[in-house]
Symmetry: C2
Subunit: 286 residues, 2 copies
Amino acid sequence: MAEAATAPAARASIGDSEFDRDTAVTRREPGVYDIDLSAGWTIFGAVNGGYLLAVLGRALADALPHPDPFTISAHYLTASRPGPAVIRTETVRTGRTLSTGQASLLQRDEAGNEVERIRVLASYGDLGTLPDDVRTTARPPAFPPLEHCIGPEDGPSPVDDTSPIAERLMLKLDPSTLGWALGAPSGKGEMRSWFGLADGRDADPLAMLLAVDALPPTAFEIGISGWVPTVELTVHVRHRPAPGPLRVSITTRNLAGGFLEEDAEVWDSEDRLVAQSRQLARVKRG
Amino acid sequence: MAEAATAPAARASIGDSEFDRDTAVTRREPGVYDIDLSAGWTIFGAVNGGYLLAVLGRALADALPHPDPFTISAHYLTASRPGPAVIRTETVRTGRTLSTGQASLLQRDEAGNEVERIRVLASYGDLGTLPDDVRTTARPPAFPPLEHCIGPEDGPSPVDDTSPIAERLMLKLDPSTLGWALGAPSGKGEMRSWFGLADGRDADPLAMLLAVDALPPTAFEIGISGWVPTVELTVHVRHRPAPGPLRVSITTRNLAGGFLEEDAEVWDSEDRLVAQSRQLARVKRG
């Protein structure tokens, strides 16, 4: 059932999918990468912050001796635009278990000057080498079955020209966190959704960097309608996700002074807590 | 009562205290600072990660146009030692509300080569300029009164030569998170403590960078006795704390694959959630 829901079209695979093509970076020289940021991952003209983090994550995976982002922190400096960008990486430290790197994504402004869009600091490891010991008290959040959740295609205007990213994601929101869409926000600061890629590609660590920033802002459920740009986003990838759709649960506990935090948990089809993230976002009244 | 408990000695003040003197940095040239890391903030010979973050935070507060760390992420690369260190900062971006900077702390090894200890990426602002709007659902954790909590001075050996930091902190742990000390860990991964500086200096944003990493590891309550070094620590400072002791509540929900997260909340005497932090730590069996 979930399979069918995630794969309306022919099923894409990790390495051969829209997400892989749109996050592919080309090594110009050691540590320096070129990419053409796709307009397909924008919403209201803004390039999604999770997509950008996945692009930087892919560059660091190539530059560092370890393949997987264990913890990656991004500070968003200026708004990225679809089109050419360069990623400059620096290997800060390499160790046996972990290596640490830094990356900056830059684009040229109208005058042709390089402007830094995002700076990232990350420690990478190899998820495949971790022991299986698990002593977790975390429990999966209560989620309605996927077929009882609501996606854009269930709405009046399934095709939304202003957010092409919606066509590339399989998002099915828990109706109990959709009050904002009906003019009755819960006030609780919670957002929950099933997550997948529309072409059926299964999630991997890089796709989870996208997943944690793909849902509507929790601020909507607090009754805030404006734009909520990310200042900083840190993601911990804890386990390689099992095939099948992910469950993403986001909570905001503290909106104060015009800023709020968004805590995300990502659970896989085997009920594993595979990623955790926290971002600091700024409330701009709409 | 709390006042008395926090100020056994003459009350020190912000700007004139042990913490201020031991985190003071000297500008060598624009963006470059010298410091002599104090042995007074070590435990078992290791310099406390929160003290180091406060040192880096002070250097960035001088280098950037904004005074307060709104979000600061540190990746710990190699173990710092008491003694001379240099901090090199870079101003990444300056804006009206926020500015972003980077800092590295380096020390010389036996051969005289510079070794990077920590790298930090942070966005600074001015807490004094934030609007007062608060829409929070967060509630203070349940804490026993300070006089019912337990500090090192209540133990059999109040003076512990191996952890001088204990003499500089006012830590009073919630007895319900002290099972590990009695050989009966709760298995819950929770640690709660009242926090202050022993000389009575009130907390400010820099002291909160210390507070989030000052408690015993939650891993102890999960039944792990080994060393739990921090890989990455991110702190969000949300409000300037009111005078008086802070309450620090730390939770670990997911220990898996040899890594765990520690989520800290810092509450002030006016029941405000003044800081939130999350760290990824590595479990090294003792």
